[in-house]
């Protein structure tokens, strides 16, 4: 099976990130970690987000100048493809769980 024909999948961390970004809010990495109730770690969140952005599940932009000193934060939001995949993924998972039970 070639890479192009592979079914898109979501890892556990990717599912958590999409779940948190579903309502269309933009969030930065540490904010995602804080609201994930320890399901995400701050050492891995940006690597996961970078991979998700490459796959087209999220998009990011640099925060506008907030007047605070320091580097500007990078804000992430789910793309339409990411949201659709999340919906399908959770639906399939729920159905599978029901079938197995």
């Amino acid at each position: 099976m070639t890479r192009a024909s592979r079914l898109p999948t979501l890892s556990g961390k990717e599912t958590v990130i999409l779940e948190l970004l579903l309502d269309g809010h933009e969030m930065y990495g540490l904010e995602l970690v804080g609201t994930s109730r320890k399901r995400l770690k701050r050492g891995t969140v940006y690597v996961t987000l970078q991979r998700m952005e490459a796959k087209g599940y999220v998009q990011s932009r640099t925060e506008a100048d907030s007047g605070e000193p320091g580097l500007p934060r990078r804000l992430y939001k789910a793309t339409a493809a990411g949201r659709r995949l999340y919906d399908l993924w959770t639906m399939v998972r729920t159905k599978l769980q029901l079938e197995i039970a």
């Binding site: 930065y28 990495g29 605070e68 320091g70």
Partner: protein, 377 residues
């Protein structure tokens, strides 16, 4: 993404960012380094009114996240690169890596065979001594000692128990041999295809990662098996009835950690430096693949069109000080109270240092050669 002028210097992470700018690609800088450091700096700003301890904790957590993120990113990039370009991008590169892989595998086989014969020979000698001087009833006569020792030493399960420690020991020098053998053959246009630093780093990292479970868990279990078999054969008892106590080399990574934690609260801490050195050694031995990979990059330019004998001798010249320094670290530095880290890593550090010098000197030599050839009419 550029820092706001005049702001980063006062905040933590400025130096780390400057270092990352030199080492990382712009994409990594934008998507991993800057966001991680931005979080650290904003958290630091928010903790401005709090105690120094709180700000210190914020800094430590931020730095730990930065190191973890970058390490993970590098590992993933190396694996992706290897998966994408495992056998090179051009036919010359593919031929180079094919030669390197097969030469490394051949070197592992040959060196393992030599080491197995040597170790088994030494084992036979010790067994003959033990059988001749044993003080318990039912032992063999002097004439029977050698055949019995040979029968024990060549038991397949005993030989299999020796294998993990031997393979781990020969892996770094085999990698060096493989890369140098591949580098000595020139491409059709006469220029040697030197091992690409990124590929060698990826391969060394993979070998190191694969070897750590061997030194941490497989090797100690195999060593203990070896001892149990020998004791059972010597005493002619059931293997599980007379289990010898585990020595340092028979403790797994977890058992070593437990022993170190237990002894921290006790007054008898004689074995502490030995255990700590052994624990460092379990990582240092596999990491030697990375050090020898670097050495291959430094030496590759010098191996152009050389014979296999020169390559073999070069590997021996590199391997001898390495193994010598391993012993020095263990038997000279450790009893004198040197830090366990240094005792275990001294050999790797020396090899990596020598590799760095060779890489720098070969780069400057290539630069001079390029200048001369461009100046020639």
């Amino acid at each position: 993404m550029m820092p706001r002028p005049g702001s980063v210097r006062r905040l933590p992470g400025g130096r780390l960012r400057r270092l990352a700018q030199r080492l990382c690609s712009p994409e990594t800088l934008e998507h991993v380094v800057d966001p991680t450091l931005a979080d650290l700096q904003h958290e630091w700003n928010e903790a401005a009114g709090r105690s120094g301890l709180t700000r210190g904790c914020v800094c430590l957590a931020g730095y730990a996240a930065f190191v973890k993120a970058l390490t993970l990113h590098m590992l993933m990039t190396a694996c992706r690169h290897l998966a994408g370009n495992a056998f090179g991008a051009t036919p010359e590169e593919r031929a180079f890596y094919g030669r390197a892989g097969s030469a490394t595998a051949a070197a592992v086989l040959v060196q393992t065979a030599i080491m197995m014969v040597t170790s088994t020979g030494m084992g036979v000698r010790s067994l003959v001594y033990a059988l001749t001087h044993q003080r318990w009833p039912g032992g063999p006569s002097e004439a029977e000692s050698l055949p019995r020792a040979l029968a024990i030493a060549f038991r397949p399960d005993l030989l299999a128990s020796l294998l993990p420690s031997v393979v781990v020991l020969v892996l770094p020098t085999s990698l060096l041999f493989g890369l140098l053998v591949a580098a000595r053959k020139s491409s059709p246009d006469g220029a040697s295809i030197r091992p690409q630093a990124r590929w060698v780093a990826g391969a060394s990292l993979l070998l190191t990662t694969a070897a750590i479970p061997v030194t941490g868990w497989v090797m100690p279990v195999a060593n203990q098996n070896y001892r149990e078999i020998v004791v059972a054969e010597l005493y002619r008892t059931d293997r599980k009835a007379n289990v010898p106590a585990k020595g340092l080399r028979e403790l797994t990574f977890g058992e070593l950690g437990d022993a170190i934690r237990t002894e921290q609260g006790s007054s008898d801490r004689y074995l502490a430096p030995y255990r700590r050195t052994e624990r460092h050694k379990r990582v240092a031995l596999p990491a030697a693949c990375a050090a020898f990979g670097l050495l291959a990059i430094g030496l590759a330019g010098r191996m152009r069109a050389r014979g296999a004998l020169v390559v073999g001798l070069t590997v021996m010249v590199a391997a001898f000080p390495y193994y010598f320094l391993l012993r020095i670290g263990e038997q000279v530095l450790m009893p004198r109270g040197t830090a366990p880290f240094l005792c275990a890593w001294v050999a790797n550090l020396v090899v990596a240092g020598a590799a760095a010098i060779l890489i720098v000197s070969s780069r400057s030599r290539e630069g001079t050669e390029a200048e001369v050839s461009s100046a020639a009419p």
